[in-house]
Symmetry: C2
């Protein structure tokens, strides 16, 4: 099959061995996939992963290795964490888990991927694939609301006008709170302005240490440092970025101001699927370019540029 | 008056100008004070403070500049944060606050200090001063229980066998949880062993990522890193150390494991005063040396050595 894989370097292959579904798993023909910052970080060494990249996808179930084959032929999205079969806790934290395209399991930048059947969610015919492909990062944004109590009276800054920051701002404003999306790129901020979300340039935000919550979605350590300066005492910093780099930090302000730093990652698919049908989400607006899978190397370069938001890969003509 | 002050370097002075109580404040004759790691950090540049050090003390109110003089002649301890008079929030986070011996107000390593009357707590005659002098760090340990819900079923590691770690272990085990105090110094760990607290050497603790809560009280960045390796996914890291240094850190594990990092500082005096009378606290056991105020420079050097736990300064003969 065709696949975009990373091993020391990123390479498109015409003849990658297709995955075989184990018992309980489905073989999925991928139709579309989204490039995430985590994919870019992996190519810098994050997670030490080698193999087919990609964990945001829409596809059609082609085969199921299990008694219940009711999902065959259905269009699906899939949760990316694959715990051992006997694990009963949250799948995103199962010891020894595989993670689609991130750890121990080839991903979705290919003609085929496999996932446990229980990871799959059928997609309503009302939702086009170009929107459904956002379900995984949208779930990650929703994880904030599952994890901490965001109040309508909260004052919140989302730092980072990239894909994840834009999704977090869209999700958080549904809670009714006073929210500002801060970023570096006026043309990206303009997308949120068009939805009625307040925005400002990161280096123009007044650092008066009185925000209740700051979401760090810049993907850079400078965002962490700025977040600490923006938060009121006893405020909450939501860390969303996973970075391969280490950086010089002083945590004294976390203690002195009694900040709560909440690391926060994968989220719930069911509410994300519900949000896909909401009129205020405007997810397709975040797509800045689309490539056939063959051009995956170029697509990844494009995704890494400051001008890009979501870059899609298409597996079908 | 006599005073131990820091300005570029630490110096004992026989003729330091005594403080004058402003309206609403008390003049306190200090009888005894404890050296805290924060005092040591200040001499390395933390907080940029110059002036008389010291914020852990017991003393006697000598004069009050306010209508209600009922505390004159009483033995007292004092909360260290001094907010502006019109501030109604938590005193430890008031903007523009002074902090005794740490920021904007001379401290208690002197014959006299001043504090707002509302900061003072009379000490029961049942409590000797050598125990009462622990009330401020004991309150800091209790702050953990005020800040997060510690459950009897929690498995907890306290990293750091210094003063603060020892106090945290004593306080947390009262919650009924399974607790291990991990440190570098067998003779310090032995103090907790004698109270029935489980201990181990930090580099012998099995790093199996399954503790619910880790309290970082080592005062070093290596403690932060080890804490991240010890915590189960979605576990809680209580940060107690305030460090002057910046250090190289990678926060990816905070996100991947969805760790909650809770910065945590000054605590409540009223429950700390109640705990002073409890038979399981054995606070005087933590005193490793005592000096007259004149020998304050040597006392600070002693406090900085690995062998020391609490070092006291005596102002009275």
């Amino acid at each position: 099959m065709r696949a975009l894989a990373f091993r020391d370097h990123l390479e498109f292959s015409q003849n990658y061995p297709p995955p075989q579904p184990s018992f309980g798993e489905a073989l999925i023909r991928v139709s579309m996939a989204g490039i995430c910052n985590t994919d870019l970080e992996i190519t810098k060494g994050y997670m030490g992963f080698s193999g087919v990249l990609g964990h945001e996808f829409v596809g059609t179930v082609e085969q199921i290795n299990a008694p219940d084959c009711s999902l065959v032929g259905k269009r699906v999205v899939g949760e990316i964490n694959c715990p051992p079969v006997d694990w009963s806790g949250p799948s995103s934290h199962a010891p020894g888990r595989c993670v689609l395209g991130i750890s121990g399991r080839n991903g979705a930048f290919a003609d085929y991927c496999t996932l446990p059947v229980r990871n799959l969610h059928p997609v309503s015919d009302l939702i086009p694939s170009r929107r459904a492909v956002f379900v995984e990062p949208l779930a990650a944004a929703l994880r904030i609301l599952d994890d901490i109590h965001i109040k309508p009276s909260h004052r919140i800054v989302v730092l980072g006008d990239g894909k994840l920051g834009q999704l977090c701002a869209r999700v958080l404003r549904r809670a009714g709170c006073d929210i500002i999306l801060a970023g570096k790129y006026p043309e990206k901020l303009a997308l949120s302005v068009s939805l009625g979300i307040n925005t400002c340039l990161s280096d123009e935000i007044e650092e008066i240490a009185d925000y209740d919550v700051v979401v760090e979605a810049t993907g850079s350590v400078s965002g962490f440092k700025q977040a600490l300066r923006l938060l009121r005492p006893q405020g909450t910093l939501i860390l969303k970025s996973t970075l391969a780099d280490t950086a010089s930090l002083n945590l004294a302000l976390v203690v002195v101001n009694e900040i709560r730093v909440i690391g926060n990652r994968c989220g719930p698919f069911a509410p994300a699927l519900r949000l896909l049908t909401e009129p205020d989400m405007h997810l397709e607006q975040l797509i800045t370019s689309e490539y056939p899978l063959e051009d995956g190397v170029v697509a990844m370069q494009t995704a890494a540029s400051n001008e890009s938001l979501k870059v899609l890969l298409h597996m079908e003509e």
